[in-house]
C-alpha cells in the first residue's frame, strides 16, 4: 500500500516538475512555431543565475522569482533578439532549430568553461517533511506540486479567459488572420517568450532544489524528458503537456516499483511511442497546417 502511494505521490511530483517546463516549452512553440532546443540550457542558466544572484537563497519563493526573472530575460533575448534576427532574414524552421541547438551548446559549454566540470550543491527553503500514509514528502517536493498546479491553472486562465490569451491562440492558429483582428503577432510572441522563459526558470530552480545539486548539463539532460512530455501531449498544447507529464511521471514510478528501477525511463518512452503510433499528433493536438514563421 505504501509502495502504491509512493508511486502516485512521487509520480505526481515528477509530473509536476516536468509539467512546469513542458508547458512553457510547448506554449512558446505553439505561439511562435519556433522549436526552441535551447530550452534545457536556458533552464540550466536560470539555476546558475539564481545561485549566483542570491548567493544560494534560503527562501524558496525568492529563488523561484529570481529563476523566473532570469528565464524570462534569457528567453526573450534568445527568442526575440537572436531567433528574431534569423527570422527576419527568412530562416526556415529547420534552420532556426539548428540555431537554437547552437545557442544551447554555447550556453552549456560556456557555463562549463566558467564553472568547470564540478557540480554545485543547491538547496533552498525549509527542510521540513510531511508523512502521508507512510510516504515522506519534503516541503520542496510539496511546493513543486503546488507551484505546478498554480502555474497550470494560471496558463489555462491566461489562454481561456484573457484578451491576451485570445491573442496568443489567434497567433498560434493563423498569424495573418490574427493581424486582421488587430492582434500584434510580434508583441504576442515577445510576451510568450517571456512567459515561457519564466516557467523555464521556475522549473530549473525547482529541479535544482529537488536534486540538491546541479551542473552545466543539468537542464539539457532534463530537457529530453520534458520535450517528450510536450510531444506526448501534443506539441503546442499546454493542456496536453500537462497530461503528457503526468503519464510519464506515473508510468516511470510504476515501472520502478513493479518492474525494476532500470526500466523506469524505458517504460516512459515505450508509452510515448505507443501513444504516438495511435495518435501521431499527440494526445490533444490536431494536425497543424503549414504555419507561418514570423519575427
Amino acid at each position: 500500500m505504501t509502495l502504491l502511494l509512493s508511486i502516485i505521490i512521487f509520480g505526481v511530483y515528477s509530473a509536476a516538475l516536468l509539467a512546469i517546463g513542458a508547458v512553457g516549452f510547448t506554449l512558446q512553440f505553439g505561439v511562435t512555431n519556433v522549436l526552441n532546443l535551447a530550452f534545457g540550457s536556458i533552464l540550466t542558466a536560470c539555476i546558475f543565475a539564481e545561485y549566483g544572484l542570491t548567493g544560494h537563497s534560503t527562501n524558496l519563493w525568492i529563488a523561484m522569482a529570481v529563476g523566473a526573472a532570469s528565464g524570462a530575460v534569457l528567453s526573450l533575448l534568445i527568442g526575440h533578439v537572436v531567433v528574431g534576427a534569423f527570422l527576419r532574414r527568412g530562416a526556415t524552421g529547420f534552420g532556426i532549430a539548428m540555431v537554437t541547438i547552437a545557442i544551447s551548446l554555447m550556453v552549456q559549454f560556456g557555463l562549463e568553461a566558467i564553472q568547470g566540470p564540478d557540480i554545485l550543491s543547491y538547496s533552498a527553503g525549509s527542510q521540513a517533511t510531511m508523512n502521508i500514509g507512510g510516504v515522506v514528502l519534503s516541503s520542496g517536493q510539496l511546493t513543486t506540486i503546488i507551484v505546478a498546479v498554480l502555474a497550470m491553472a494560471a496558463v489555462q486562465v491566461l489562454l481561456r479567459m484573457t484578451k491576451f490569451g485570445l491573442a496568443m491562440r489567434a497567433t498560434a492558429a493563423d498569424v495573418s488572420l490574427a493581424r486582421t483582428c488587430a492582434v500584434s503577432p510580434a508583441r504576442t510572441r515577445a510576451v510568450t517568450w517571456l512567459i515561457s522563459g519564466a516557467l523555464c526558470g521556475i522549473c530549473g530552480v525547482l529541479l535544482g532544489i529537488g536534486e540538491g545539486s546541479f551542473s552545466a548539463s543539468t537542464g539539457s539532460d532534463f530537457f529530453i524528458t520534458l520535450a517528450a512530455a510536450a510531444v506526448l501531449g501534443g506539441i503546442g498544447k499546454p493542456a496536453g503537456a500537462m497530461i503528457g507529464a503526468l503519464i510519464i511521471g506515473i508510468v516511470s514510478q510504476a515501472a520502478a516499483a513493479v518492474i525494476a528501477p532500470s526500466y523506469k525511463t524505458i517504460a516512459a518512452w515505450v508509452i510515448l511511442i505507443a501513444v504516438l503510433v495511435l495518435r501521431p499528433q499527440g494526445i490533444l493536438a490536431e494536425f497543424a497546417a503549414d504555419r507561418e514563421l514570423v519575427a
Binding site: 505504501t2 508511486i7 511530483y13 568547470g116 566540470p117 543539468t218
Partner: protein, 438 residues
C-alpha cells in the same frame, strides 16, 4: 527522466582530492591537441625525448581524473629525468584528452598513435573506455599501464596491456568482505547505478555475500540522474536492510541519499571507489549533511601507504615537479595520481632492464621488473641495481605488484572515511580471498 551519460569508472582510489582538478584540467586540455608530438612504436632516436601519454579525460565531467593521471606521470618523469633518464633519453608526459567518452576516445587514440613517433607508453584508467581503446594501443604495440577496472580485462588477451589494480568484480568481493568483517551486519541492500562501471561491482558483491553467508536483501539497479528515487527507496527500505552498499554518479547519489534520508534511513552506507571525489562529497553532504556523511559513510578503496622510501620519493617528486602539479599537498595521498606515477616508473625501469626503448623489446620486462631478487622502491634505486647486474622487484608507492597470466595485479584495500580521507579499517587479502570463496 533519464539524464544519463557516460561516466568514467576508475577501479581504485585513495584519499584523492578532486576539487582543484577541474579548472586545471581545462587549462591542460587547451594544450592537448598540440602536446603530442612524437609517436608510434618504433625505437626512439639516439637523443629523442620519449613520451608517456596520459590518456584521460581532461575536459568534461571526468576532467579531474585526467589531472591525476598527468600529475602522477609528470612526478615520475621528474624523478626519472633527475636520475639521468634511460640510455641517454629523457622523458616527457603528454596530455591526450579522451573526454571520457568512447566516441571521443577512439579518434584521440588513433591520432595519438599516428602522430607520436616517440610515444613509448600510455597511462590511463577509464573502465568505460578500455574495450574501445586497449585493442588500438595493443595493435600499435604501445604498452598501456592502466588503473581501469573493466571486468572484461580480468582475462586480458592483449600482451601490451598491464593493470596494477584489480577488476571491478574484485572490488565487489571487497565490499562483501568489508560488510562481513568490518561491520558484522548480514542484510545488504545493493543499490548501484545501471551504468557499466557501477554494475561491475554487483557480481562480486553477490558472489562474495554468498560465500560469506551474507544476505542480499534487495538489489536495485537504478537509472541514473532521475529527479526522484522515492519509489526505489520505498522498495529498498521495505526489504529491511542493515547496510546499503552503493555506487552511482554524484548527482544520482545526491537524489538517492536525499531520498533515503527523507524516508528515515539512519543506517550505514558503504560506497565503492566510484564514489570518490569532491563532486560526490558535495552531493552527499548536501543530501544528508556533513555529520551524517562522516559518521555513516565509508568508501572501500585501494589503499596506498603513506610512509616509507617509495612514498617519500613520490612526495618529493610531486613537490619538485613545479608548476606542472597544481596542488602537491593535496595530491600526495591521491592514489589516482600515485598509480600513474608507479606506472610511468615501471615503464622506465622496464626499458632499463631490456636495454632498449623499443616498446616491442621492453614490454615483457614490465613484468620482469616486479619479479627480481632485489627490492627497489624508486627509479634511482632500480637503475643502480640494474646497472649492478641485479634483477629487481619494484615495490612503488602503490605497493607490491604481482602480475598474473592476464597481466592483472591486485592491491591493498581499506574502508576510508569520506571526510577525513583516513582509513578506518583495512580489508585484508585474507578477507577478500574468503569472499572470493578461496
Amino acid at each position: 527522466m533519464s539524464r544519463g551519460g557516460h561516466r568514467a569508472r576508475w577501479s581504485a582510489a585513495h584519499g584523492a582530492r578532486l576539487a582543484l582538478a577541474g579548472g586545471l584540467g581545462l587549462t591542460l586540455a587547451a594544450c592537448a591537441g598540440s602536446a603530442a608530438t612524437g609517436g608510434g612504436a618504433s625505437p626512439a632516436g639516439a637523443s629523442a625525448t620519449l613520451e608517456i601519454a596520459a590518456f584521460s579525460p581532461f575536459t568534461g565531467p571526468n576532467a579531474p581524473y585526467g589531472y591525476f593521471q598527468y600529475t602522477g606521470c609528470v612526478a615520475a618523469v621528474h624523478a626519472i629525468n633527475a636520475a639521468g633518464g634511460v640510455t641517454g633519453h629523457h622523458f616527457t608526459c603528454t596530455i591526450v584528452d579522451n573526454r571520457g567518452e568512447p566516441a571521443d576516445a577512439v579518434p584521440a587514440a588513433n591520432n595519438m598513435v599516428a602522430s607520436s613517433p616517440h610515444l613509448v607508453g600510455i597511462v590511463d584508467g577509464d573502465s568505460g573506455l578500455m574495450s574501445a581503446t586497449v585493442p588500438l594501443f595493443n595493435q600499435a604495440h604501445i604498452p598501456d599501464l592502466s588503473a581501469g577496472g573493466d571486468v572484461q580485462f580480468d582475462k586480458n588477451i592483449y600482451p601490451y596491456f598491464w593493470r596494477t589494480t584489480p577488476g571491478d568484480d574484485v572490488a565487489g568481493y571487497t565490499l562483501a568482505a568489508y560488510v562481513k568483517f568490518g561491520t558484522g551486519f548480514t542484510r545488504i541492500a545493493a543499490v548501484f547505478g545501471n551504468d557499466q562501471a557501477a554494475q561491475g561491482n554487483v557480481p562480486g558483491l553477490v558472489s562474495g555475500a554468498r560465500h560469506l553467508g551474507l544476505h542480499i536483501a534487495v538489489s536495485e539497479s537504478i537509472a541514473l540522474d532521475q529527479t526522484t528515487y522515492a519509489t526505489e527507496v520505498q522498495k529498498i527500505l521495505a526489504a529491511h536492510p542493515q547496510v546499503i552498499v552503493t555506487e552511482s554518479d554524484p548527482q544520482t547519489a545526491g537524489v538517492l541519499l536525499g531520498g533515503l534520508k527523507q524516508a528515515g534511513w539512519t543506517g550505514p552506507i558503504v560506497g565503492t571507489s566510484g564514489t570518490l571525489g569532491i563532486d560526490y562529497d558535495k552531493a552527499a553532504i548536501a543530501a544528508i549533511g556533513k555529520a551524517a556523511y562522516e559518521a555513516r559513510f565509508v568508501r572501500i578503496i585501494q589503499y596506498a601507504q603513506q610512509s616509507g622510501l617509495a612514498w617519500q620519493t613520490w612526495k618529493s617528486a610531486l613537490f619538485a615537479a613545479g608548476s606542472l602539479v597544481k596542488d602537491p599537498a593535496s595530491d600526495e595521498t591521491a592514489i589516482y595520481a600515485e598509480l600513474p606515477y608507479d606506472h610511468t616508473t615501471m615503464l622506465a625501469l622496464a626499458m632499463l632492464a631490456a636495454h632498449s626503448t623499443s616498446p616491442v623489446t621492453f614490454n615483457p620486462y614490465i613484468e620482469k621488473i616486479t619479479q627480481g631478487r632485489t627490492v627497489v622502491h624508486t627509479f634511482a634505486q632500480g637503475k643502480a641495481a640494474l646497472a649492478a647486474g641485479k634483477t629487481i622487484d619494484y615495490v612503488g608507492v602503490t605497493g607490491q605488484v604481482s602480475f598474473d597470466k592476464y597481466h592483472n595485479s591486485a592491491g591493498l584495500w581499506a574502508a576510508e572515511n569520506p571526510v577525513t580521507n583516513l582509513p578506518v579499517k583495512l580489508v585484508s587479502a585474507h578477507d577478500i580471498a574468503a569472499a572470493e570463496g578461496h
